[in-house]
């Protein structure tokens, strides 16, 4: 069978991945540079019996996908910074009420309305700390169009497995650039659906605290008739003020993700064994970093690369191992913002390793030459 090869945009790849991953509900509000995702899904979802709805704003969009997910549909929304700011209320709710949802943030320049058509990585920390209260966020960041497709499917899988909102962090350039993509064949990518309860309704607890912190999830209409609230609640879902129950709930929310970092966190490294200098970058910047590292190697400089694919949560132990590579002297953190992930790296390197920030926030991409120059400065 001939391979299904297409030239497509990152935003198209999100839609393609969503369809492969079993998306059945999309609720969204138009915003540049994410709109192609909604436009494509408006056309494709009804063809497979799925639902698309354009809501009155981003707050309503995230509300609608939470409602749809509770009714049993795999659900997603897509937006950019200003919309993501409005959605954090619903993201906090989905976290507290343990509702699988996927939020795509095609990042653009900020703050505020900022630069609708220009690239940035300035929502990196917002994806981690956006909503109020303590919470553990999951966010994935692709570097290519094909990886955008793969990580869209993975974001949906993680949302279903961990019953939590998952953010896909892309950006204006990734969203709009076109690359050759081999569409995966049926069965090529793993598709995971939420675990349903197999107990009678009278035994069912929607928020049960189990030894592995994973609780089966019934849908509205399945006959289980449970209560869902954003108030801190007990295992039945009823609001509680008892400190024992509060501690149990908040600990469960944390543990159900933090105990599975090995499954959730993907980090790519290259040439770190003998590296004197490492370049740490994610998403579109990681591509420039890759080229810069190759250029440096051609000049016989010992340079390695670290690319977080899972931006959040941070797998501290793994990063500490990577950064304790015996010859490492410096890490260059390249980001399209005024310095966000650099603080994460500072926290994870041994004392003798210098952390150098390379930032660009004038709406242009960081070039390989810029990174190479920085490497030369360090060496």
């Amino acid at each position: 069978m001939a391979e299904n090869i297409r030239l497509m945009q990152g935003n198209e790849a999100v839609a393609e991945g969503a369809m492969i991953g079993g998306l059945r509900f999309f609720g969204g509000y138009p915003i540049t540079p994410s709109t192609e995702i909604a436009e494509i899904l408006a056309r494709r979802l009804p063809k497979v019996g799925g639902k698309f709805i354009q809501m009155e704003d981003e707050i309503a969009s995230v509300g609608a996908i939470i409602g749809a997910s509770l009714a049993g549909s795999k659900s997603m929304t897509a937006t950019s910074g200003p919309g993501f700011s409005l959605m954090v209320e619903g993201i906090g709710y989905a976290y507290m009420a343990e509702v699988p949802t996927v939020i795509v943030n095609v990042q653009r320049g900020g703050p505020s309305t900022g630069l609708p058509t220009k690239v940035a990585q300035a929502d990196t920390m917002q994806a981690r700390w956006g909503t109020h209260g303590d919470y553990i966020a999951i966010a994935l960041a692709p570097q290519s169009v094909r990886e955008t497709l793969d990580l869209t499917v993975r974001a949906m899988n993680l949302a279903e497995v961990y019953r939590t909102p998952v953010t896909l962090l892309t950006d204006e350039v990734l969203g709009h650039m076109r690359e050759k993509v081999t569409i995966p064949e049926e069965g090529e990518l793993e598709i995971i659906n939420r675990q349903k309860p197999d107990v009678p309704a009278s035994w069912y607890k929607h928020f049960e605290i189990t030894p592995n912190f994973k609780s089966p999830m019934a849908s509205f209409g399945d006959g289980y008739r449970f209560h869902v609230t954003g108030l801190t609640h007990d295992e039945e879902g009823f609001p509680t003020n008892k400190s024992v129950e509060i501690l149990a709930k908040l600990t469960k929310l944390r543990n159900k993700i933090m105990r599975y970092l090995d499954d959730i966190c993907q980090i790519e490294t290259d040439g770190m064994e003998d590296a004197h200098v490492a370049v740490y970058a994610y998403g579109i910047v990681a591509r420039a970093a890759r080229q810069a590292v190759q250029m440096a190697r051609a000049r016989r400089m010992k340079v390695g690369q670290v690319r977080p694919i899972t931006i959040w949560p941070s797998h501290d132990k793994k990063y500490k191992e990577i950064f304790s590579s015996k010859n490492l002297e410096a890490v260059i953190v390249a980001e399209l913002n005024q310095g966000q992930l650099v603080y994460e790296v500072q926290r994870l390197v041994p004392k003798h390793v210098e952390v150098i920030s390379l930032n660009r926030f004038d709406s242009e991409l960081i070039t390989p030459a810029q990174i190479l120059n920085k490497i030369k400065e360090v060496r």
Binding site: P46, G63, S69, G90, G221, H227, G230
Partner: protein
Amino acid sequence: MAQRSDITHKYLRAKKKFPNVWCAGCGIGIVMGSLIRAIDKLELDRDNVTLVSGIGCSSRLPVYLDFNTLHTTHGRALAFATGVKLANPKMHVIVITGDGDALAIGGNHFIHSCRRNMDITCILINNQIYGMTGGQFSPTTPTDSHAATAPYGNKEYPFDIPKLAMGAGASYVARGTVYHVTQLDQLIYDGIQKRGFSLVEAFSNCHTYFGRLNRLGDSVKMLEEMKKNALPLKAAAKMPPDKVQGKLLTGVFCDVEREEYCDRYDALIQSLQGK
């Protein structure tokens, strides 16, 4: 009366810790009774009923009832309900909300839900004040009335809820009060049966804040005032306008046929799939 109470107990959640959060004499419990009787009379399969609410005193209602229940964030009940309904159109989706929840922070979702005409029944319990947070003025607090944040009297003008809902395109709009319980039972019954977006305003009393701050007496006094001030639309139509002025009009304000959203979307799916 015994019979009514039996029906109520059938739908209360055995596992939920009582008592409820409402003040003694609060009208919200009366609306809950009306809702239960309406659902019971309709013989709805309770697995296929979802109650969705926002934040506030009224929004605490669903937790006590044995249906699928969803207590959301402030003002967003209709947005969440839209997702539940569209994902599962067989579900009877009933939204319980208050005047602050639906008309201030949720005003945008309210008008767009009316316009979209999805088959959702919205029961808006209007007690003219923010009760849960301690008596601040709401979008339905009358002009010059007193509230915790209007110590010198409210300088704003209130929404007329039925007019707002009709203007925004709701298919069924009605108003009842917690004094006129038999009528309220019927309005909620009709609202749930209506295919399309229906809005039932249940005018209620907050004697704890609105009553106290405006010297309107206890809940009994406020209910008696409701009895005196309510005027059925049909009666009002035969009266001169100056006699209608200041009265609380009750009954069905509009009941129109408009194709429902999920039906229209389902037709689209059928045509795309060539069925």
